[in-house]
């Protein structure tokens, strides 16, 4: 196979260009796959995944996240590697990718490889290159660590199937929440072409499960499932639209993860919003919080948002927001409530809910016990009783509770956000503080 390479370029220069091109892909997880080493090669996988470093933006570096090539025949408006951009171009050879992966992995720098690519010549040609690289890594180098590859929309289903048997996880990026949005942003991509490989991978995984129950040693197909990502804030979609799409992807396409990527305007395209305050990180954070509520807390999107309330409250998190709008459920008696209801209490997470259920077999729990178990009492205290008593005399009143929860935020003692409250995010909040709206409006507004 002929591969277009740039012989004069050093490995260092190539890695720089091709890591630069891959960094906007959010997924870097190495979870979902659990495989012991077979004694003939290097590597294994751990179900929970491992992060090997953290980049300057605080995101985990788990996989060697690179593009095979940043040459591309497409011209997507949001993408740094689009055809019409004048950026340095480079391509790896399969051997170079293998060398980097193996040498980084032995030194415990990485958990495996994340291989994405621009579209070189055609989707099929690109997918074939990806398959060849991963095949070499698995067979010649006997690499048994984690591999995440992109399924290139439009590539032959046979190639996607081949990649699926070599990789732990595959992903196809949905890019935009709506089909119209995608058409506008990426004129060469079509929603239907993106969903097709997604469906194929889903079916492949389901069939593989049946095979595995029959034959224990059948080859595994995408053991760690598939994921996707959506860009947030490039188009005026509402959180309700985005979360409904995510819920559909979890329910109908059995996705493992949906990632949300706050839009970074790398191209300064005239059709794209200029984000003077930086990427919409707080909004992205709220979407991830809601995503967790869907996956681990048995929430439905329709409970969190509705068509007339289509965006998340920026001042308090989605779970607290749900709780203050459903005060009829509260206060919840910690020593009696079932697990599902415990999960709905702000300040109680999956771990503490499990610990509560286990520990209360030995006797009634007190607030002191809850604190030790890991319940965040300053948030939970408005919603719970222990042995019929509340922690302090508090009003069970929407406005009162919201005021207290957000007051803690302003004092820097409340919700811990993963970034400093400056730039846009802080300004958005201070807008509420200037008394332009009544309190009741404040937390209903998103």
């Amino acid at each position: 196979m002929e591969v277009r390479i740039s012989p004069q370029m050093s490995l260092m220069d190539k890695l720089k260009i091709l890591a630069e091109g891959a960094k906007y892909d959010v997924s870097c997880s190495s979870s979902g796959s659990s495989r012991a080493n077979d004694g003939n090669g290097i590597g294994n996988t751990v179900a929970a995944g491992l992060c090997h470093s953290f980049a300057s933006d605080g995101r985990c570096v788990s996989l060697l996240k690179i593009l095979f090539t940043n040459e591309c025949i497409y011209d997507c408006k949001y993408c740094i590697n689009r055809k019409s951009n004048d950026v340095p171009r480079a391509s790896f050879t399969p051997d170079e990718v293998c060398e980097l992966t193996m040498e980084f992995y032995r030194r415990n720098y990485i958990e495996g490889l994340f291989l994405s690519s621009g579209i070189l010549y055609s989707p099929n040609y690109t997918m074939e290159l990806i398959c060849e690289t991963v095949h070499k890594l698995r067979t010649v180098h006997r690499f048994q660590g984690y591999i995440h590859v992109k399924a290139i929309p439009g590539a032959d289903p046979l190639l996607i199937q081949k990649a699926g048997y070599l990789a732990d996880r595959m992903s196809v990026n949905l890019e935009m929440a709506t089909a119209e949005g995608l058409r506008e942003m990426a004129p060469n991509k079509h929603r239907k072409n993106i969903l097709k490989p997604m469906r194929q991978i889903q079916n492949g995984i389901a069939e593989n499960k049946n095979e595995l129950t029959l034959y224990k040693h059948a080859p595994r197909f995408c053991e760690a499932g598939q994921s996707t990502q959506m860009v947030i804030g490039a188009l005026p979609e509402s959180d309700y639209q985005i979360m409904s799409v995510a819920e559909n992807l979890y329910d109908k396409f059995s996705l493992k993860r949906v990632y949300y990527s706050a839009f970074v305007n790398v191209n300064e395209d005239k059709d794209l919003p200029a984000l003077t305050g930086g990427p919409p990180l707080l909004r992205e954070h709220r979407l991830y919080q809601a995503d967790w509520l869907l996956r681990f807390y048995h929430f439905k999107v329709d409970e969190l948002l509705t068509a007339d309330r289509p965006n998340f409250n920026m001042a308090i998190d989605p779970k607290a927001d749900w709780a203050v709008r459903h005060l009829e459920v509260f206060p919840v008696e910690i020593n009696r409530a079932d697990y599902q209801l415990l999960l709905r209490i702000p300040g109680v997470g999956v771990k503490s809910a499990r610990r509560i259920v286990a520990a209360r077999r030995f006797g009634n729990l007190t607030f002191e016990d809850l604190k030790k178990i890991g319940v965040v009492l300053k948030r939970a205290l408005y919603f719970i009783t222990c042995n019929g008593k509340m922690m302090y005399p508090t009003k069970i009143d929407e406005a009162y509770i919201v005021r207290n929860l957000t007051y803690q935020n302003q004092m820097g003692r409340g919700e811990r956000l993963p970034f400093l409250m400056d730039g846009t995010t802080y300004r958005q909040m201070s807008l509420f503080d200037e008394g332009q709206m009544s309190e009741a409006q404040t937390y209903r507004l998103a």
Binding site: L15, F54, G58
Partner: protein, 258 residues
């Protein structure tokens, strides 16, 4: 009644022998305490007994704990015993065993978090487990001239026994060693063989180790990759520090030039 303090060595052997001897006293458990390492503040109205580690007693206790508490609780206790909190770990482990075997919580003892000693054991074990987890993530191997991989760490708890199985599986075909310079301990894994622990040889100086030819190239490649992969518009050093604390960064080459 007079308080009795049993003083034992800082090792699993020491602690298990202490538990054996505490039961052998047959005086109940309310006034008996297990203390790891030297006592610094001697109390009035208390008597002190020094316990010599004994392998027969250790084996008996280990066997009983595995049978009566189950394998997973036994591992929790081993992790708590590896903790750096010398002041509290002896008593916490001892009284957890009492809660399980004598007070009857049995295999469910680790769920009884209302007992302060069980809670303490839980916390100590969690701290060791968390640190071991961080080290499996953040360890950096370097290739020596002879092709052997060498990594140095500086953990607070003695985590090497808990991270060696992970690397022995993952790097089964490699010769590697992990050096805990805080506890003077090496975990050594010869290719395709069982791993073992050795204490640091006298006069070992890590600065004298010689790296292989290509070592520097891969270090530079990864350092550059690490720098490139961060998104400038999202820079957040506070989050980076929170996820990967400085005391680990000190041992990671990609953080060397700051």
């Amino acid at each position: 009644m007079e308080e009795k303090y049993l003083i034992c060595e800082d090792s699993i052997e020491g602690i298990f022998t202490g538990i054996y001897d505490a039961y052998a006293l047959r005086e109940g458990h309310e006034h008996v305490h297990l203390q790891v390492g030297e006592e610094e503040n001697y109390r009035l109205f208390a008597s002190y007994m020094y316990i010599q580690p004994d392998s027969v007693k250790t084996d008996k206790v280990a066997r009983t704990l595995r049978e009566r508490l189950g394998e997973s609780v036994y591992h929790v206790i081993c992790r708590a015993a590896a903790s750096c909190n010398k002041e509290e770990k002896g008593d916490a482990i001892y009284k957890t065993v009492v809660d399980s075997i004598t007070a009857g919580s049995g295999r469910r003892v680790m769920e009884n978090l209302r007992n302060p000693y069980v809670l303490k054991t839980f916390e100590l074990a969690r701290y060791t487990a968390n640190e071991a987890h961080y080290e499996t993530e953040f360890i950096r191997f370097q290739e020596l001239e002879q092709g052997i991989l060498y990594a140095v760490i500086g953990p607070k708890n003695s985590v090497i026994p808990f991270i060696m199985p992970h690397f022995a599986d993952r790097l089964s075909i490699e010769n590697f060693m992990i050096h805990d310079e805080n506890h003077g301990l090496f975990g050594v894994h010869p290719a395709k063989k069982e791993w073992y622990l050795v204490s640091e040889p006298d006069g070992f100086i890590k600065e004298r180790l010689k790296w292989s030819q290509k070592e520097n190239q891969y270090r530079e490649l990864f350092t550059m990759f690490h720098k490139t992969i961060g998104i400038k518009e999202r820079e957040n050093k506070r989050l980076q520090r929170q996820m990967c604390p400085f005391r680990y960064q000190d041992y990671m080459m990609e953080f060397a030039q700051k």
